[in-house]
Every structure is written in C-alpha cells, then in structure tokens.
C-alpha cells in the first residue's frame, strides 16, 4: 500500500498549541502545502502577526519575522520591497487584521503590494479570551458583548473581502472555509492561487478563511464546526471576489 497523506515538507513536525477542533491548524497546513507545491520554501519569508497565529514561526519551516499587532502587512511591504526575489506572506486573525490593523491592510492592498495575506476569521479575539471582533456576528455573545452583538451599539460585522475587493490595487481576493472536505479542497486551491499571484508579480492577494474557535465560542468542536456552516457562511459568503488576469491592462504581471 502507498502512503496517500503526508505532512507537507514545509510544516515542521511539531504538535500544535491550537485548541481541539480549532481550524487554525488546517489553515497553516494549507499554507505549507502551497509552499511545497510551488517549491518556494527556500525563498519564502513569513511574517507572524499577533494572536493565535503568532506561533507560525514554530510550525512553518521558513524564515519568519514577528510584527507588532496589526502591522504585518506593513512589515511584509518592507521586506518585499527590498527583497523582490522572496515570497512574502502573513497569517492574520480578525482582531489583528480588521481592528488594530485596519489601516495597514487597507493601504497595503490599495498600494497593490505584491504580498500574500491569509486572513483567519474566527469572529473573536481568540488568544486574549474571546472578546468581540469587528467580524463578530450580530447576536453573537462574546466576553465583551455578553448579550450578543447589537447593531445599535457595535455596528455590523465588517466584511473585509468585499471591502478590499473594491480597491483598485488588490489583485486576488477570495473567501474560503475549511469546515467540511469540499470547502477545504476549495480553500486549498484558493490559497495556492494567492501564492501563484505573488509568484507572477500580480500584486496584493488575500484569502480570508472562516475558522472555528470552539474555546471562545463556548462550543464543542463539532458544534463550532456546524456554526461555521450555519451562521458564518451566510454572513460571509464564499468565493473569489476579485481576480486580475495576467497581461490585462490593470495587472502588473
């Protein structure tokens, strides 16, 4: 018999610290698979954001720099501008990307920086104990919205994919989920495509991946997984929202 499932080469053989049923482990693996697929491990530089994804330096076997909270896209910009031969990416949470780092992500996308962002949207601040994030669903209870997010008080969940697609500088913007095999396979393709855009010098690419945080949602892993399907996907629709075509007038590649 032939072994048909193997750990990607660029994913270190280290047990993860993620909680049981957290989708972050899946998303990190898909990133490693994309790095392996394009054989870019030697020239890839990761930028660790702040949040549960910070430990990307423990898991991905590539060079990594740590950025201050929310600033990963700015740090990526700096690295890519001086080292164009490298593939530069970050994995950011929703607190990191859509709250403290709103300015950085918007301007990085708008400038069309040739970097790749993997955005883990779990609708809460995971690492710090489940506070409300900009992406928290209406009615969702968190430690800082104990009665559920109320639109009168806290406004609507921010849809970053839709927002960034509207900027002229962005080249590839998509949203995926990994809650079931079919979605996971699509997520795999989209993450690979995002890296391909960078390799082809097409400009800014981002894939948002909806992710369960069983611990801070107060749900069992399978219940949390179901919530992604039943509550998150209806609020954050999946698909490719923007894709520049190589050689077209508005593309850089």
């Amino acid at each position: 018999m032939k072994k048909v499932f193997e750990r990607p080469k660029s994913l270190k053989d280290t047990p993860s610290h993620f909680c049981p049923g957290c989708h972050s482990g899946l998303i990190h693996r898909l990133v490693a698979e994309a790095i392996d697929y394009f054989k870019i491990q030697e020239r890839t530089i990761g930028v660790a954001s702040v949040g549960c994804s910070v430990f990307l330096y423990n898991y991905l076997d590539v060079d990594v720099i740590e950025a201050p909270h929310g600033r990963a896209p700015a740090v990526c910009t700096g690295i890519k501008r001086v080292r164009k031969q490298n593939i530069v990416f970050t994995i950011q949470g929703d607190g990191d990307l859509a709250a403290i780092g709103t300015s950085e992500i918007i301007h990085t996308a708008n400038r069309g920086e040739n970097i790749t962002v993997i955005f883990i949207n779990n609708a809460v601040y995971g690492m710090t104990g489940g506070q409300m994030a900009p992406t928290t669903l209406l009615g969702q209870r968190t430690t800082t919205s104990p009665y559920g997010r109320d639109v009168q008080q806290e406004g609507y969940p921010v849809r970053m994919v839709e927002l960034l697609s509207g900027l002229e500088g962005s080249a590839f913007i998509a949203r995926a989920a990994v809650n079931k095999p079919a979605n996971l396979m699509k997520a795999k393709k989209l993450i690979r495509r995002a890296f391909e855009m960078q390799i082809n010098n097409m400009g800014f690419s981002m894939v948002e991946v909806l992710s369960a945080c069983p611990t801070n949602w107060g749900l069992k892993p399978l219940e949390a997984n179901r919530r992604v399907e039943e509550e998150m996907i209806p609020c954050f629709p999946l698909g490719v929202f923007k894709e520049k075509i190589q050689g077209s007038e508005d593309s850089r590649g």
Binding site: K2, V4, F5, P15, S16, F18, P20, K220, P221
Partner: protein
C-alpha cells in the same frame, strides 16, 4: 499488513490527537470513533472501530487539524486525490 484484500488503511497518532471528532464526522464508512481512553495530554483520542471498509480516501486525514492520521491506499484504487 494482513493478506485481506483491503483498499485502505489508517493509523492514528494517539499522542497527537486532541479528540476533536472532526475525523469521525467526515468518514463515510464510520471507521472512526472517539474512545474512552485518554492520551498523556488528557484527550480522548480517536480510535479505529473497524478498518475493513476503509477506502483509503484520506478525507479524515485532510480534515484533521493536527495531522494525527496517516493513510495508505492500494495503489491501483483512485480516491480522494491530494492535488
């Protein structure tokens, strides 16, 4: 391996498994189940009920956030490809 003409075979790395049950949920053959035995981290790890219907599709391994499942398949059988 035994000589039975099985299509697939899996192994669970019980010290890596966190007992989340995502693999149990996606296996179309009901091969997996959470057991009542704990690993050294205190998780009730996933167990193989009966392997004989395993197709080696690797969907369980794809869905495991902790890469705690290894899968083998008879090479002439096509299943879920990892492309």
């Amino acid at each position: 391996m035994t000589k039975v003409a099985k299509k697939g075979k899996i192994a669970i790395l019980k010290e890596i498994c966190k007992g989340c049950g995502l693999c149990v949920d996606v296996c179309s053959q009901g091969i997996l189940g959470l057991g009542d035995e704990m690993n050294s981290k205190g998780y009730y790890f996933s167990r193989i009920n009966s392997e004989k219907n395993c197709t080696g599709c690797a969907v369980c391994a794809e869905m495991c956030p902790d890469l705690a499942i290894e899968v083998w398949r008879k090479s002439n059988i096509s299943g879920n490809s990892r492309k």
